[in-house]
């Protein structure tokens, strides 16, 4: 009798109330539980996997399922960094791919900044109605499939592609330019794909800028171009940093763009990792490559994190 009574009463109470009394009876504060849900998920599926990558990078390759082991030839447990990390240091292919990826990512970031800055600046100084439309135009490609945007460039860059056809029919060139499967195509693909990531934080920053500073500078006789480099650019520094990190960090490990647009000479570390893993089934080396990429990215990741925290502080 009593238990059905309780059940009836519980069912009449709103769900939130019922949940609350259940939790408090368990001695769990709501706040802790709220934090715990995303926290545990991220620890389990984001942080823990990195520890496992580190773990696998110290193993031996075996022909088994899974193809790695921590038992050496004589059956004893061994942390083996000689095979995986040793290979990265000894074989110049890895070092070349590693340095090349950093270079490609760095130059692409600079190119995105140079191309994106005037656009973000222009958008931030437009009338409100125009601004919204332009913002929509920048965001739209971001929502369309990344893979399809890379695919689009194949049709343009091929030897019998649109760019070559147009240039040849205009008699600007006699024989097709070789653009597909080159480093040029890789740069183009990365700049194209990541440009919105540079423009959006720059725009967000420039839009909030206090324009009275520029007016003051003009009143004091400063030329517009000088005011731009002395006031606008330094003030937009947080936006520049945020945009640069959003381009640089993922670009270092880029796989799809060099795979589709680049040639065999476009060595990038993300491609090396995938090949080691899927083609060679050398999981320890693939994991060691991942660890090496992460080491290069620790600094940029921390800068990015610091920026995110600052934004949060500033707005709250």
């Amino acid at each position: 009798m009593a238990s059905t009574d309780v059940a009836n009463r519980a069912s009449r109470l709103p769900a939130s109330h019922w949940l609350e009394s259940l939790l408090s009876s368990l001695g769990i504060r709501g706040r802790t539980l709220v934090i715990a849900v995303p926290f545990i998920w991220l620890v389990l599926f984001f942080l823990l996997p990195f520890i496992i990558v580190l773990w696998v990078s110290t193993s031996f390759v075996v022909i088994a399922q899974p193809p790695y082991t921590h038992l050496s030839a004589d059956g004893t447990f061994t942390l083996n960094i000689g095979d995986s990390f040793g290979r990265l240091v000894k074989d110049t292919l890895y070092i070349k791919a590693y340095l090349n990826s950093l270079q490609v990512a760095f130059l692409s970031t600079v190119l995105c900044l140079v191309i994106g800055y005037p656009l973000a600046y222009g958008m931030a100084r437009c009338r409100q109605a125009t601004r919204n439309i332009l913002l929509m135009l920048v965001i739209l490609p971001f929502w369309t499939s990344f893979l399809i945007r890379v695919y689009a460039w194949i049709g343009l860059l091929k030897n019998n592609g649109l760019i070559n056809e147009v240039l040849m029919s205009l008699h600007i060139i006699d024989s097709p330019l070789n653009m597909m499967n080159t480093n040029f195509a890789v740069y183009l693909g990365i700049v194209y794909s990541y440009l919105p990531f540079m423009i959006l934080p720059l725009y967000a920053n420039l839009e909030k800028m206090d324009l009275s500073l520029l007016e003051a500078a003009t009143d004091l006789g400063c030329k517009p171009l000088k005011a731009f480099f002395l006031i606008t650019v330094p003030l937009s520094f947080p936006g520049i940093v945020a945009g640069s990190m959003l381009v640089f960090i993922p670009a270092v490990g880029e796989y799809v763009i060099p795979e589709l647009l680049g040639g065999p000479s476009s060595l990038m570390i993300g491609r090396v990792l995938v090949n080691e893993f899927f083609s060679n089934r050398d999981w320890p080396t693939a994991s060691a490559v991942a660890v090496a990429i992460l080491i290069a990215l620790v600094g940029p990741l921390m800068i990015y994190q610091k920026y995110q925290d600052k934004e949060l502080e500033k707005e709250s």
């Binding site: 995303p38 599926f45 942080l47 893979l147 695919y151 893993f277 990429i293 949060l312």
Partner: protein, 283 residues
């Protein structure tokens, strides 16, 4: 705006927009090409759309991708909304810095690393606790939830940041418990942001290739995996047709969302002005 934009900036902007849109336009145009050679114009034809619909492999993969994106984005929206809320409302707790780092990092982490690490996690878990048994839908969805929840958390974080606290405070003053305040006051207000967060997560999940390739098993192939294997073999007019459909859906969606937001903004301004006038009339 008092100082007008210089010609340099205007021409630059036009060129960048051409750069952004020329490839997309070319894909759409060539999807209506009668010629099999994707880059040679052979007259207007819609036959590739027919061929696309008849391609079982693409249609099955598209259905699977839509299923994965729907489920994982829904889950990611729940976890991501909580994460965004925690970031804004709980400024101090043990491990907050680590938490904020774990929310932000997946946004920029190279996909090959996320993919590899998730796969190694699933394999280790299988060895130790016997679950997940092999890889497939479940593992792909867990991976998708993990990296899309960051995007959603960022969207929700900025929404919670700009949220007017007075309504929640009023409800609390009237005796509502925190959980009730959240479900009755906070959640309805941020619903538009939740919808856009869900859509963002859905699109990102639908588009993912690298992380899916790592965490997927044999037998389940998603749409980006099919597109990638076809694109590797060369241009395919069916892919152009598929791309055009995707671009059309996204464009309509983004335009409608922008119009809707503008209407809401105008409505909000009207409401504010009316409120001000009402107050002015009373005093």
């Amino acid at each position: 705006m008092s100082n007008r934009l210089s010609w340099f900036v205007i021409i630059w902007m036009a060129l960048v927009f051409i750069f952004l849109y020329a490839p997309i336009v070319s894909v759409v145009v060539y999807s209506f090409n009668a010629s099999r050679l994707v880059t040679v114009w052979g007259g207007f034809d819609t036959k590739w759309y027919g061929a696309l619909i008849a391609d079982r492999q693409i249609i099955d993969a598209a259905k699977l991708s839509l299923l994965i994106a729907t489920i994982s984005s829904t889950l990611a929206t729940v976890v991501g909304t909580i994460a965004g809320y925690v970031l804004v409302r709980f400024p101090k707790f043990l491990g907050r810095t680590a938490f904020s780092g774990m929310v932000n990092a997946p946004l920029v982490m190279p996909e090959v690393i996320t993919g590899l690490s998730m796969l190694l996690l699933f394999i280790s878990m299988e060895q130790i606790i016997g679950w997940p048994n092999g890889r497939g839908l479940t593992t792909v969805m867990i991976a998708h939830v993990t990296f899309t929840l960051s995007y959603i958390a960022v969207v929700m974080r900025s929404r919670f940041l700009t949220l007017d606290l007075s309504l929640e405070e009023a409800a609390q003053d009237l005796g509502a418990k925190p959980l009730k305040v959240f479900f009755v006051i906070t959640l309805p207000i941020v619903t538009p942001a939740i919808v856009s967060g869900w859509l963002l997560g859905f699109t990102i999940s639908l588009d993912d290739l690298v992380i899916t390739s790592f965490t997927n098993g044999p037998g389940t192939t998603t749409l980006p995996q099919v597109i990638f294997s076809k694109v590797r073999l060369g241009l395919d007019p069916k892919i152009n047709a598929l791309a055009t459909i995707i671009i059309a859906i996204v464009s309509i969606g983004v335009v409608l969302a922008t119009l809707h937001m503008r209407r809401q903004e105008a409505q909000r301004q009207r409401d504010e002005q009316m409120a001000i006038r009402a107050i002015a009339a009373q005093t």
